[in-house]
Symmetry: C2
Subunit: 587 residues, 2 copies
């Protein structure tokens, strides 16, 4: 079997910043060439960032990508690495809509493509066949499917290229690639993190390897883009299903691996009739050269909570950085949610860039202030106190607000303080609500919900506590001070908007609430089916009613990193105007 050295670049592109993304690829190519690689592959859309959404329907954007790809080919040449073939993920187009036929949206003018760049030129292009259009993905909206294969022969090994969703479907290019008997199936991906997703992804990769009797090389981008966190975790599996190489999660990385792959066969029967699928073939002349020995350990993914923590940190860091902020501000209530957000922010961008405000009201307990003090002290956060009583009173009395209207007022005055500090100092405002609250609308819109980014919006309250305990334990393990005051973890949760309030005055206990939400929101069960799981019917009806009614608030909420299989946002699209029927026997 011939041996080839493959390099997979786990880059962190910024959507739209084509020249900077191209520079990342040039940098990876230099590193790969220095390591003696025979071929380098980037992740899906590494040139443009992913997802580009409706930018794919702007001809000028596609033209810019087209130019940038050609400039990248020249730049690789200029950098002295033009001999290294590079597979680059990029949007392709604009195509003439008329020429694309009837297969898709009438205004899709782009393809989701991977091009082989070599010796200063684009030598061949593969376009994704299967366009995901579920969950957070809208690819059928903006892309036209491809229908051909690209096979690159390097050192007598055929490397067939796929893009992301193509690997997940049994029909289509997976079968066609099997028919050409490629030695390596290379799939380039932009696959966002979800809890437990690497327990699905890795078995898929190894299964495809075994099924196709081929090596599968899987390269993923890394980094935060709005509500998505791409986790990298690039991996290579042998034809026997064994993991041969694996990159770390949540970090930029160049994975280089030596592969003993099946030699290419030139038998025309096998090579030239993969069903209806046309094949573009490119043969690379590889020079013999000394290769430095490789010593890359196979990365082991972290435990569940550590993965979630790292995803949240990366999502937050990249939102801040990629949107041009250098600092954040948030309110510290002394409670667990804001404490966890503050520590996430410190881990993401450094404590010195995190500005916290305690905003006690007349109803705030002594411990809210002291727990907030304690947190700021332990973590080294910037910290100030702005009492709100004197700001609330004039409004409350002029408008004669009482009850919940008066409670909301307190939250909204706090929002004004945070937004004022944001505008004055250029901080990004973080909003600290968790997924359980967001689900049932247990927050004040234009109050505690304000901000540009919501670090824990996809974390249920039960998991907020788990993350706090994990982070504290991790600090102790590292010989550091546990950042989160134990009292913030242990005390009963309260919005403290009236005397002696606790969340459980209005909501079922969080373990019950989170169980119902998992069934109704994530598993999409009807209320009757949720009750059948053993929950109290009145509680279920009330919770589902609250979830439905809170849609308008969620729609106006900040984005935040998706870590679950069903995040609020583009993952779950429901009408605001929705009146569940009253017919007996229906849901």
């Amino acid at each position: 079997m011939p041996r080839i050295r493959l390099a997979l670049a786990q880059t962190n592109p910024v959507v739209g910043d084509l020249s900077a993304n191209a520079q990342q690829i040039v940098h990876a190519a230099r590193e790969a060439a220095a390591a003696g690689a025979d071929l380098l592959a980037t992740g899906e859309m590494a040139l443009s960032g992913y997802p580009i959404e409706d930018l794919a329907s702007r001809p000028s954007f596609l033209a810019a990508c087209h130019r940038e790809l050609r400039m990248l080919a020249k730049a690789l040449q200029d950098a002295g690495v033009g001999d290294l073939p590079v597979i680059v993920g990029h949007p392709d187009g604009p195509f003439d809509v008329q020429s694309l036929g009837d297969g898709n949206a009438p205004n899709a003018i782009a393809r989701n493509s991977a091009s082989l760049v070599h010796h200063g030129h684009v030598k061949g292009t593969y376009s994704k066949h299967h366009l995901p259009n579920y969950s957070v993905f809208d690819e059928y909206r903006v892309f036209v499917p491809g229908d051909e294969l690209l096979v690159v022969r390097v050192r007598d090994v055929d490397i067939a290229v796929l893009i992301c969703e193509d690997l997940w479907r049994d029909s289509g290019p997976v079968a066609a690639v099997r028919a050409v008997r490629a030695g390596v199936l290379l799939t380039i991906n932009a696959s966002p993190f979800e809890r437990d997703k690497n327990e699905v992804r890795l078995p898929l990769v190894t299964r495809r390897a075994v099924e196709g009797d081929t090596i599968v090389a899987y390269v993923n981008i890394v980094g935060g883009q709005d509500d998505l966190v791409f986790d990298g975790d690039s991996v290579v599996a042998g034809a026997d299903g064994r993991v041969l190489a694996r990159a770390p999660q949540f970090a930029e990385h160049l994975l280089v691996v030596d592969l003993d792959a099946r030699a290419a066969t030139d038998s025309p029967q096998e090579n030239d009739s993969p069903g209806q699928t046309g094949v573009t073939r490119v043969e690379i002349e590889s020079a013999e050269h000394l290769r430095p020995p490789l010593d890359q350990p196979i990365a082991e993914p972290a435990g569940d909570l550590e993965q979630v923590w790292n995803a949240l940190v990366l999502g937050l860091r990249d939102y801040v950085r990629k949107n041009g902020f250098s600092s954040v501000v948030l309110g510290l209530s002394g409670g667990i949610d804001s404490a966890v957000c503050a520590v996430l922010a410190a881990d993401a961008i450094g404590a010195d860039a995190v500005h916290c405000v305690s905003m006690p009201s007349r109803y705030s307990s002594d411990h809210s202030r002291s727990d907030a003090d304690e947190l700021a002290e332990r973590v080294g956060l910037h910290y100030q106190v702005q009492a709100i009583a004197d700001l609330v009173s004039p409004i409350e009395s002029q408008l004669s607000l009482t009850g919940i209207a008066a409670e909301n007022l307190q939250a909204r005055v706090r929002a004004i303080i945070l937004m004022g500090l944001s505008k004055t100092h250029g901080h990004l405002v973080l909003t600290t609500g968790n997924k359980s609250e967001l689900a049932v609308g247990y927050s004040t819109i234009y109050g505690d919900s304000v901000g540009g980014f919501a670090p824990i919006k996809d974390v249920p309250k039960s998991m907020v506590w788990e993350l706090a305990r994990w982070r504290n334990a991790e600090a102790v393990r590292r010989g550091e001070v546990a950042p989160i005051p134990e009292n913030s973890i242990e005390k009963p949760p309260s919005a403290e908007l009236r005397p002696d309030q606790t969340d459980q005055d209005s909501l079922p206990p969080y373990e019950v609430l989170d169980g119902i939400l998992e069934a109704y929101v994530t598993r999409k069960l009807g209320a009757a089916d949720v009750v059948a799981l053993g929950y109290d019917a009145d509680t279920v009806n009330e919770v589902t009613r609250l979830v439905d009614r809170a849609e308008w608030k969620r729609r106006q909420g900040a984005i935040g990193p998706k870590i679950s299989g069903m995040a609020f946002g583009r993952d779950r699209r429901l009408p605001i105007t929705y009146r569940p029927t009253k017919t007996p026997g229906t849901e």
Copy 2:
């Protein structure tokens, strides 16, 4: 040629309220039967409302629709109109995903269907072949395409059924229907209003009639659903392209029309080989009975501004009504935007349900107060004044806010007042920003942007003035008082957040701004192409930069009725995190 009497029911369903929607259909069937109709058709998804978005992926919701359709069949029987065949639009499913093959999203379990209900039973079902997945539509996400035809023979006329998008595509069922030589092509629709859309829709209907040498009957639902306004405008065109019947826009209506249609042919060659498409055929036995004569005028659509006004009124009315509100509250600044919103609200739900607040600051001019007074007086709105100076000062001084931070503070205190009145009295808050402001982010988030519904969010500032002038002229034409004070129309627009401010301190003149926005947002031109239209390059670069940067604010904004071909919201999906590349020569 046999003559049949066709009834088209332009109903206004509420998403999810299956039993109420079914009642609307029973009501229409009674009316159609009394008029001697041979067949009744509803709009697309008249049973469930449209769009149902991800409700289509909830098995319990689909099961409820399934039951409701069968209950409707019985209810029609019980109402004594079981003899009348009724084509009902509804979601169909849940289907076993495995059985649906590889053609779609892995988790789509529903079809978008039209069933023939007759004599208490469901006799046949057509499912939409072409699933729109562009603009505001996400049907490929949640539906699986159908691949068969349904032909109903009534009084010796074959009526073939299509659904909405099917009519727009040249291939697929349009061709198959031609092959079966149906006498009537019946298409049921949920087609939202856009300016000038009936200038596209009607020619399509008449073109299909002429092409297919057949009558085309087009029935559309009516009513507001979140950001969409379905305008009805059901129409019937003869094989010669002549309009035979047309229903009014923006109103529930039963359109009944006599049609002399081609007699069915039983020639097997023509009838049984429409390509690969299977055909379900149902024959209806129609009794002879006396028919009352028909006298339905062909409705003429109104002029452009009147159509827009009516769309805005209906969108607002239905949002209020369908979400269980009975009143609204908004701030009156004395400016044109809030004036137009107040009059729209009065037209939608009656002046007595409209509560307005003037919230002058120390920078407010005398005319802002007096113009607001005058408007409230002319229209008969509830009106109160809440000065904000004493509420703003304590916050401003505690936080030492200056400049734009201090300007935003005023807008946010006003927001607190409106939200407080909303919570206390149950009013829906209307936010009065226009499309031009929304585009460039010329508003204070959590300030003047607060509210559940934004009546003019898709109306550019230039058109706000046009609408105001049109509405005043319309009042005069009807012999009523012009509602909007002329001074609100004529004076230079100003946010009045600092002394002598006008919008043009920060923005180009609105006619220039709106022109650039039309090119950049609606036509999706790159900045260089906008400049090539003749706009100043610096202005174009500044405006496009503002549009890109305001994405995060728009994402947190209220929904409002779409009236253009490119509304902000689900019509235009762009990343928040987006850094246009700095490469020379690229956009």
